[in-house]
């Protein structure tokens, strides 16, 4: 490789890297800025004021954070465990392909559009405006993902391993506790993280089914943006980005799957 070529490559890597990192850097800077408006290209003053005041009760950020964590954990645990079992059923079923196709519908379709359609069902069931309602609505979509995720996991080799355990005398609970769960630790974790993030990011669906009463972090970001409170929006955005960043950095394989 020529010298010129290498310089060009390094410059390109640096430029693209800057673009990738820019949103996070910008949000951080904004959260420490004061009076950063047109025509200031850089913040005229910096302070940590936001990070001190934003935890106050009237801002609702702490509540939103806790609510978001609760929702996402429940959705992730629910969809991962149900998806794990349901995918097993689908994988070994005669209609595997048809059932799998069904799972793709909630997986890729807009939660908002489907959310508008199921809204009335949730009204009838008295679930609109409740945390339970939002959990169930998000589960619907997270489950589609979890089933697709685990269907490829339940292959002929897993089946044979399970048979091997049975022939050596393992009962159903023993097969799960001693073979199926231990060999599934990695995929279970991956699925948990991804469904967690799905719920963590969700705005539109939470808004419809939550009826505006369930103020999770993404809902707060939007509220702050609407109120033109850009510093609060930046602070909430950073809180919103931290868990996914930690998770995605921890596992790059997940990054690719997640984008789907």
């Amino acid at each position: 490789m020529s010298n010129q070529h290498r310089i060009f490559q390094n410059a390109l890597v640096a430029a693209v890297g800057m673009l990738f990192a820019a949103p996070m850097l910008y949000l951080l800077l904004l959260s420490f800025a004061e009076g950063w408006t047109f025509p200031h290209l850089f913040p005229p003053r910096v302070s940590a004021g936001l990070w001190e005041t934003m935890w106050g009760r009237e801002q609702g950020l702490v509540g939103g954070l806790l609510l978001s964590i609760l929702l996402s954990v429940v959705v992730a645990v629910g969809s991962t465990s149900v998806g794990f079992l349901a995918a097993r059923y689908v994988s070994y079923h005669r209609w595997r392909r048809g059932l799998l196709f069904l799972s793709y519908i909630p997986f890729v379709m807009s939660p908002v559009v489907l959310g508008a359609c199921i809204h009335v069902v949730f009204i009838r069931l008295g679930l609109v405006g409740t945390v339970a309602g939002v959990v169930i609505a998000q589960l619907m979509f997270a489950l589609g993902f979890a089933v697709i995720f685990f269907v490829s996991f339940w292959n002929a080799e897993r089946k044979s391993l399970e048979e091997a355990a049975r022939m050596l005398g393992a009962t159903t609970p023993q097969t799960y506790s001693r073979v199926l769960l231990p060999i599934s630790r990695q995929p279970l974790l991956l699925c948990f993280l991804q469904t967690f993030l799905f719920s963590w990011f969700q705005y539109g669906l939470t808004l419809i089914i939550g009826g505006g009463k369930i103020t999770t972090l993404p809902v707060l970001v939007y509220l702050y943006t609407g109120e033109a409170n850009i510093y609060y929006a930046a602070g909430a955005s950073i809180l919103l980005m931290l868990p996914p960043l930690v998770m995605l950095w921890g596992n790059r394989a997940m990054a690719v799957r997640f984008g789907r």
């Binding site: 080799e157 044979s160 391993l161 048979e163 091997a164 355990a165 049975r166 022939m167 050596l168 005398g169 393992a170 009962t171 023993q174 001693r178 073979v179 231990p182 060999i183 630790r185």
Partner: protein
């Protein structure tokens, strides 16, 4: 008889895979079943192991019918073509797996497993995980894991076909030794004529879902239809030629 199979039939959709299959295996004996791939051998073994339900017929173990018994209560172990080890467990834990399920006291378990490791000459690899083993070592571990729970019948589905010829020969030897020592009855399925004759106390031939069994090895060898005699004649004529050639050379 340890294992008696009667009139087993099985269809997959339109396709008849097994038809009126009957066989029996006596205490400490090995029945080899010779057949090409796709003749229904694997389906037969999986029916005996309880992994597939037959359409008709019965499977008996020590005279008691087990046709509808769940796999885990049969005490019949099926060994796959590929040595299928639990990837999350060490060699030691793979072999000890069945004993752990039976909640054996710890020192008894350690003692038995260690002895099995010695038999298999795997002591040095006890703490390794499956992905660190060679093909032969994996297959030996799979054997140990099956034999240590003293199954009533061991079902072997071309267990050596993925091994190189040398390892294969030593595994055949090891298997005979272990079966003898632990007194296990087995059903050995292969497509290799030589292996069938070598491993079996009696022999069966399977074609298109039908099984023909022979009371003795000799009867099978003498039968004109199954190629054993051709094989013998081929090798002896080769030997004849070689000695003639040597003879001519010395003259």
């Amino acid at each position: 008889m340890v294992l008696t199979v009667q009139e087993i039939g099985k269809c997959f959709g339109q396709q008849m895979v097994l038809q009126g299959v009957a066989l029996s295996v006596a205490e400490r004996q090995t029945l080899s079943v010779l057949g090409r791939s796709g003749c229904g051998k694997t389906t037969l073994l999986k029916i005996i192991a309880g992994l597939i339900a037959p359409d008709s017929g019965t499977v008996r173990l020590h005279g008691a019918e087990i046709t509808k018994k769940p796999t885990e209560q049969r005490n019949v172990v099926y060994l796959y073509q590929e040595p299928l080890l639990f990837p999350h467990l060490t060699v030691f834990e793979n072999i000890a797996f069945g004993l752990r399920l039976r909640r054996l006291p710890n020192n008894d378990l350690t003692h038995r497993t260690t002895r099995m490791l010695e038999h298999l000459e795997l002591q040095a690899h006890a703490k390794k995980f499956p992905h660190q083993l060679s093909g032969g070592q994996k297959q030996r571990t799979a054997f140990g894991r099956a034999i240590i729970i003293a199954p009533d019948v061991l079902l072997l589905d071309e267990p050596f076909s993925s091994l190189d010829p040398e390892t294969r020969a030593s595994m055949q030897h090891l298997f005979k030794q272990l079966a003898q020592e632990y007194g296990i009855a087995s059903l050995f399925v292969t497509h290799d004529l030589k292996e069938a004759i070598l491993m079996g106390d009696s022999i069966g031939y399977m074609e298109a879902g039908k099984l023909t069994t022979f009371a003795s090895r000799q009867e099978f060898i003498n039968h004109p239809d199954y190629g054993a005699r051709n094989e013998i004649e081929f090798w002896s004529s080769l030997r004849q030629q070689a000695t003639n050639h040597d003879h001519a050379a010395t003259v």
